[in-house]
Amino acid sequence: MRRLDEVERKLFGEAVGRTYGDEHYLKSMELLIAGEGRVRACTSETLQVVDSLKKVLAAGVYVAKWKYWGVILSVEGSQLLREENTINTVELDGEMARKWMMGAPVPLRDWNGQKIVVGRYRGFMLGSAIVGRDGVAYPQIPKWRRLQEE
């Protein structure tokens, strides 16, 4: 786990801006990168404390997976977006939100061609999904927090 340097921060900010529309995403936070392009965010105070402690496993919250083709925001990552700026938010109804949180494919109604979208249900962000050419969203919900089928 290491801090993103200035160049990486800029590239990350641009990638989030391109996909999600929020160019100032997490500007006031420290960003850390762990294995497989996993980006975590924490406060600067938190990093100071990390430097003083031993046997640290993690700091802050996992906010995104950063791949060469784009950024997938986690549930928490999407909740930290400034919503007024987002360009790829899709509104979900109750049934769609349930499926989304189960990690099941969700056919989108008003999709405008973006490859990555953020789901929103009753004003709450539900994380990102990758959308196929057929307009079906594949939510990126980790197994441990998926809703189980009843």
């Binding site: 402690l53 993690a58 549930v75």
Partner: protein, 295 residues
Amino acid sequence: MEYDRLISSYETNLPESFRVNTLKTEPGKIIPILEEEGYQVSPLKWVRNGYTVKPEDRLSHSIWYKLGLVYIQGAVSMLAAELLDIAPGQIVLDMCAAPGSKSTHIAMLLKGRGVVVANDVSTTRVKALASNLQRCGVLNSVITISDGRMFGRRARDFFDRVLLDAPCSSLGIISKDWSIARKWREKDSLIYSRLQKSLIISAYDSLKVDGILLYSTCTLHPLENEDVVAHLLEKRPSAELLEIRPEKLEYLHGLREWHGREYPPTIGRCIRIYPYHSGSEGFFFAKVRKRGEAG
């Protein structure tokens, strides 16, 4: 008789309770949604943002739980973080933190400023801790995997607040699991007591001067409660027990004497909450301030 009240309270199922995670939402937004979805929600009297909910076992399968807007936690357990007098900006250690109920609560009270260090010795239990801190969106958290007994040496005079919710025999939550009572032997409490005494000394040493330590257990055995606090008072003369007065919740004061052992008079400042007081878990709390040399 108190004993009869205790036994009958063990025969009652604990109500399900939860906390609204104010790092992500506010009660005014989420409670109406829950009510709309058929949940019966009532506020807890002794804690802010705490509620009981019916029907039970449903909330943990809801979207709102998975999103981290609500956190399911015992009704009395919520008192621990409240009693620590946390203010934004402080550095707070939760020494035995897994699965993270109290750490996430501490983070809520810090309001994004300061840092919560959530530590646990078990690599298995830390997974649940990490998941819960993630789900609650705690940006100012650090997770460490360490033996709590090391903090007193490695991080001496470092924390503004320390919560030691010590491993214990869990006699306060028998109604959750009767096998706790079946398996319990007095020697178990003795073994826990030894560990708790080491932990409380380490927790105290890791506090800054004027810092506050909250010692809590979900057991009712004096060996794991008053005896541990008395040990701290004996070994660290600068430790000062503070009065605890939870509002709108019945409780008893710490025992002054048990099986011929006499404890210092200030031990009465500790509190014992029995299941019949709260209609929920049984808990013991002691609040200690670290005075300066002159204090």
